[in-house]
Amino acid sequence: MSTFYQLDFEKPLAEIESRIEPLEQQLRALGGGGGVEGGDGASGEVGLESLEAVALREDIRRLRGAHSAKMVELYANLTPWDTVRVARHPKRPQTRDYIARICKEFTELHGDRRFGDDPAMVTGFARIGSVKCLIVGHQKGRTTQEKIVCHFGCAHPEGYRKALAKMHLAEKFNLPIVTFVDTPGAYPGLGAEARGQAEAIAVNLREMSRIKTPIVSVVIGEGGSGGALGIAVSDRVAMLSNSWYSVISPEGCAAILWKQANEQTNSAAATSLKLTAKDNLELGIVDAVIQEPPGGAHRDPAGTASAIEKWILEQIEDLRRHKAAMLPARRYERFRKIGVYEEVSG
């Protein structure tokens, strides 16, 4: 834990961890190291140990309790801007991590047949539980090298076109589509513009709305704007509890509306944008919030993955009850009703 990347609001946790560590060393020095990891399960051996070791063990147990309590408390009271930072945590599980944990098999499919293969967009056939499906997801990359190749999860037009081509394949084979959303936004660059970034996203929005097979999406980290929506015009959309989803990043919003992006304006923008999972649920933009374990998905990727898997399978099972041909009409209604305005007869 001590080498773990820390977010600044996690300082109280680091402080507790720094107190646990020397105690553990002392305990090991006393020769009682074997039982430390087991926590309260080790009580059987305690009788054979010195009083000092027992006291150390008790201290460690108490501190660990305080650590968990503090973590639950901190994560229950994250500001929207803190949530954005958890969503961007370098250890946070990404699309390929969830594929590895959730999918029994995965046959990756590459290329848009037009220009190239975008590593920022992962597509392929997979099996989740007993369900055969198509996976589509943004990939940010873990190592520096990967991040550069993936443009930090910012897909190019070929990524969106690849996603759509594979989705049409899924439609033909009557496979449900599962998408993982995790992007700061679609890539803003020369090539992306030249090859029609806007057109690629727009076409995805239009075509996804009429695909005759179930589509479910999970925002696993960042849901940045049109780049996110480009693979999320779905029958059901869920957000992980520490993810964000909005029309612009807090920094982008702060730079435009506050004329400067700094900690304070970013935080104000994050609050104003109502970008958290809870806010998006209340606004009717997403249908569910998948609760992450205390301390965020990166502290328990397995637990998070199984919560996601459970939700996906439930939704697919539910959506399978409808005729595939009827799904676009229901999907249309889902998006058709979003929007808040006043109306007077006029």
Binding site: G185, A186, P188, G189, L190, A192, E193, A194, R195, G196, Q197, A198, E199, I201, A202, V203, L205, R206, E207, S209, R210, G224, S225, G226, G227, L229, G230, V233, Y245, S246, V247, I248, G252, C253, I256, L257, W258, K259, A268, A269, S272, L273, K274, L275, N280, L283, I285, P328, R331, Y332, F335, R336, I338, G339, V340, Y341, E342, E343, V344, G346
Partner: protein
């Protein structure tokens, strides 16, 4: 996907409006005022088309910057020549010297595009609210009201039925003068209803886009308007409907990445800035100078992204011709 940075021309949305006149109006329609009262207040404060309002506009609102240059003479950004304003306006707001296309309001666009007297506005009862309680340097409701008082419009789009050279159309014109033509719930709803009505009545659909993108002050709701309008276009397409998209300066962000790029036929006015990300954002990302003409209509034409670059004077003819070919 936002009100991206747009070069050339001062931005209306970011200009702090003059307080004096607006404050009184703000007071009148403060919280709690029913929307009908609010509309009345706006109607009272805004200039009428014939300019016969009891309060003249200059009383309410002294000089301010606008996307559309004011004054008797003005310098054309295209050729740097001083041109006579009236002459430019009589020339469909195109520079008589170099053909530079000035930005125009939705009202002017409707006037230019449709046969005289044929335009019947639709969905005018829609007005924006503040669902997110959005606060930046000033509250969103104040921004909306300031824009409404300044422009006399309730939102950034004008939709309606009309005729273009005798062909029946459903036309939507986005209004750059209202919060940079940004798309929030009202714009999304008006466009979606227009598409649905065009589908239902088998009318040719013409949308003239000019926008900074999705409106940040309605955040996620604005984003969803992209999906909503695009999905409506899928149904229009399924029904065999015609949609002509006209891109004008500037069309960026979430509007480009949804209905603007989905036309069966896409026209662009000369030299219009059209893109997903704004030039400044791209420059910050790639850290190098952008090539000359990048993201302009002619560049998009060359790249295969639009069908035709159509000068403003030709727009009616070209739209009518495509409608004839479509059989609508």
């Amino acid at each position: 996907m936002n009100m991206t940075s747009i070069p050339a021309g001062p931005s209306p949305s970011s200009t702090p409006p003059d307080q004096t006149g607006i404050e009184a109006a703000l007071e009148a329609v403060k919280d709690g005022a029913a929307s009908s009262e609010r509309q009345l207040a706006i109607a009272a404060a805004a200039p009428t088309a014939k300019g016969e309002s009891a309060r003249t506009w200059t009383e309410v609102k002294p000089q301010r910057k606008s996307v559309i240059p004011e004054g008797l003479w003005l310098r054309c950004p295209g050729c740097e020549q001083m041109i006579y304003r009236k002459q430019m306006e009589a020339n469909a707001h195109v520079c008589p010297e170099c053909g530079h296309h000035f930005r125009i309001s939705a009202a002017e666009r409707v006037r230019q595009l449709t046969d005289p007297g044929s335009f019947e506005p639709l969905f005018t009862g829609l007005s924006p609210t503040d669902p997110l309680k959005f606060r930046d340097l000033k509250p969103y409701p104040d921004r909306i009201l300031a824009e409404q008082l300044r422009t006399g419009a309730t939102e950034a789009v004008k939709a309606g039925t009309g005729f273009i050279k005798g062909r029946a159309v459903l036309v939507c014109c986005m209004d750059l003068t209202f919060m940079m033509g940004s798309m929030g719930s009202v714009v999304g709803e008006a466009i979606t209803r227009s598409i649905e009505m065009a589908t239902e009545r088998e009318l040719a659909l013409v949308i003239v886009s000019c926008s900074g993108g999705a409106r940040m002050q309605e955040a996620g709701l604005s984003l969803m308007q992209m999906a909503k309008t695009s999905a409506a276009l899928a149904r229009h397409d399924d029904a065999g409907g015609l949609y002509i998209s006209v891109l004008t300066d500037p069309t960026t962000g979430g509007v480009t990445a949804s209905f603007a790029m989905l036309g069966d036929v896409i026209f662009a006015e000369p030299r219009a800035l059209i893109g997903f990300a704004g030039p400044r954002v791209i420059q910050q990302t790639i850290r190098q100078e952008l090539p000359e003409g990048f993201q302009r209509s002619e560049y998009l034409l060359k790249g295969g992204m639009v069908d035709r670059v159509v000068p403003r004077h030709e727009l009616r003819n070209e739209i009518a011709r495509v409608i004839d070919f479509s059989g609508r």
